[in-house]
Chain length 297, copies 2
C-alpha cells in the first residue's frame, strides 16, 4: 500500500466564498489528492482545508494552494478574531500511513523552501522545528501579523526560509510536520467538575501524566455530567486504551463511572489498531489484515 | 464511498500451475477488481481466489473466471481429497462495505443465471438459497461429483439454474451470498481441554449459545494451552466483544484467564467498528470518521 500524507493548511480568509473556492480548486485539480473537507469561519476570517494522498501529490497541491493564497489574500486588509501571522498562516503535514515522521518533515522542508523562494518568510514548527522555541505554533505567532515587521528584525526570529524582511501582503507562513491528533473525550456520571479536573491533571503531561496527552475538565450542563476532554498527540506512544483505563481507575476512586466517550472528527486507522490489540488481546493483529485497505492504491 | 463486494471462488484444480495462472489472469484483467490472494492445495487439487471491488466489476471477473474454468478443467479426470461437485465448485459473494445482503444475493443470482446458460447446473446456497435444505454447502454437495448424475434426476435436486442434466466435464456450481466470516480464536491459560470444550458449547449456536457462532475446543500442545476456536458468521448481529466477554466470564468460573487471542486472516473493518464502540464506549463512533477510508473510491 502506498504512503498517505495529510495536509491541513489554514488560510486567512473566511468571508469571501469566491476566494475560498478558488483556493479549494487548486487542491481539487491535483491527481492523487482527495479534498476531504474545507470550512470557513467568518468571525475568525479563516478557512481550513483537509486533504490527503501520496506525498508528492500532497506537496504539489499545497504549493498550488500557496500560490493562489498569496495572489488573492492581502494581509494588510485582514481582520479576524483568530490569531494569525500570514495569508497562508500555517500548513501542517501529517503522516497517516506507511510514512515516517522524518519523511513528513522532508516534505514540509521542501514546501518551506518553495514558499521562501516566493519571498514569504517561513518558520518551521513541531517536528520540523529548527530550535526548541519554534516548536509551538502559539510561540511563533506571538504578536501576530502586526508585530511581524519588528520581529523579523530580531536575530532570534530570523526566518528558517525566505527573506528576513516584512512581506506586507502575505505576512509569514508556519509549516512543519506533526503526528495525527486524536480528540478523545470521556463523560463521567457526576456533576462534580472538580473530579473531571483532578482526572485531567492525572493524565495530562504538564501536570505529571502521560507524555502525549493534553487534557482539561469541562462541565456538560445539558447532560448533567462532566467531561475529561483530551487531545492525544501521539496515539502510537500513548495509546487510547491506556489513557481510557487510567481515567477509569482514577474515576473509580471517587465512585464515578464512565457514561460514554467520543472520538471527535477524523481518526487514523492506526489509532484503532491498538484498541483491537489491547481489548481483544490479539497480540499479533495487524491492520494489513483489514480487507478494505487493500483497495487503497 | 462506493460499494465493495468480495468473491471467493473455489475451482477444482490445485496442481497445474499453468491452469491456475490462466484463471487468475481472468480476474486480473478486469478494471475495478483487485485480486487479493490466490492459493492452491495439491492434495485437495483445489484453488481458492479472493478478490474484491465494485459489484459489477466483481460479477464480470467471476463470469470470466467461470468461462476459463469450464474451458480448462475436466471433472471426469479430477481426483482430490477435498469434497467437490464441479469445476467451479463454489462461488460465494460476500458484502464488505456499503452493500446489503440482498444486493449480494442479486449479484449471485445474475451469476447463477450466467452459469446456467452455459449448460452447467447451478444451486443457490446460504443467503441466496431457494429452500432450507439448500442453505448449507455440505448438504448440497453430499455424494459429490460422482453422485451428481443420479441426483439431478431427483425432483428434490432440480437445479436452481441451468439444465437438470449431468454435465460430465463441468459438474455443478454452487453460488450464493454470505456475510463475511471472522475467524477468532481465544487461548486459555490451562491445559485442560474439557474447559475449552465447555466454553465452546456455551457460546456456539448448536448447543444453545449465540446464533452466529461456531466454536470448538482445541489443544495447543506446543503452548501448553487450550483454545476456543471460533467462526463468527455474522459479526454485526453477534459482535466480537460480546463473544469475548462471554468466553472470559465462562473461563473465570474455572479460575482460568485468557492468555491471548487471534484474528485469523482477512478482517472486514466493520467487525472492528463495534470493538471500538464497545470497549471505548464511543456510542456514536462511525467508520466514516476513519481517515484512510476516504481514499477508497
Amino acid at each position: 500500500m502506498s504512503k498517505i500524507l495529510l495536509c491541513e493548511p489554514n488560510i486567512s480568509e473566511g468571508r469571501d466564498r469566491g476566494i475560498v473556492e478558488q483556493v479549494a480548486d487548486q487542491v481539487r485539480g491535483v491527481p492523487g489528492v482527495k479534498l476531504l473537507d474545507y470550512s470557513s469561519d467568518p468571525d475568525h476570517n479563516r478557512s481550513v482545508f483537509t486533504y490527503l494522498g501520496v506525498p508528492e501529490a500532497v506537496l504539489k497541491a499545497t504549493q498550488r494552494l500557496a500560490v493562489k493564497t498569496f495572489e488573492l489574500i492581502d494581509m494588510a486588509a485582514h481582520h479576524g478574531t483568530h490569531p494569525r501571522q500570514g495569508a497562508l498562516d500555517v500548513a501542517p503535514f501529517i503522516p497517516v500511513r506507511n510514512i515516517s515522521a522524518a519523511e513528513a518533515v522532508a516534505i514540509a522542508r521542501r514546501f518551506g523552501r518553495f514558499v521562501g523562494e516566493m519571498g514569504v518568510p517561513v518558520y518551521y514548527y513541531e517536528d520540523a522545528a529548527t530550535r526548541p522555541e519554534r516548536k509551538s505554533l502559539p510561540d511563533i505567532r506571538k504578536g501576530e501579523y502586526e508585530a511581524l515587521a519588528a520581529k523579523l528584525a530580531e536575530p532570534a526570529w530570523v526566518p528558517d526560509e525566505g527573506p528576513a524582511t516584512f512581506n506586507r501582503k502575505s505576512g509569514a507562513t508556519v509549516t512543519g510536520a506533526r503526528f495525527p491528533l486524536v480528540a478523545f473525550n470521556i463523560n463521567l456520571r457526576t456533576t462534580d467538575l472538580s473530579i473531571a479536573d483532578r482526572i485531567a491533571r492525572a493524565v495530562r503531561y504538564i501536570s505529571g501524566g502521560y507524555r502525549y496527552v493534553r487534557a482539561l475538565g469541562l462541565p456538560l450542563d445539558d447532560k448533567g455530567m462532566v467531561q475529561v476532554s483530551m487531545n492525544l498527540i501521539n496515539y502510537a506512544k500513548t495509546p487510547i486504551p491506556r489513557v481510557l483505563e487510567t481515567v477509569r481507575s482514577e474515576a473509580a476512586r471517587y465512585g464515578v463511572a464512565i457514561a460514554g466517550a467520543e472520538l471527535v472528527g477524523p481518526v487514523p486507522l492506526g489509532a484503532l489498531e491498538e484498541v483491537a490489540r489491547f481489548y481483544l488481546q490479539v497480540h499479533d493483529f495487524s491492520l494489513e489484515q483489514v480487507i478494505e485497505l487493500a483497495l487503497i492504491e
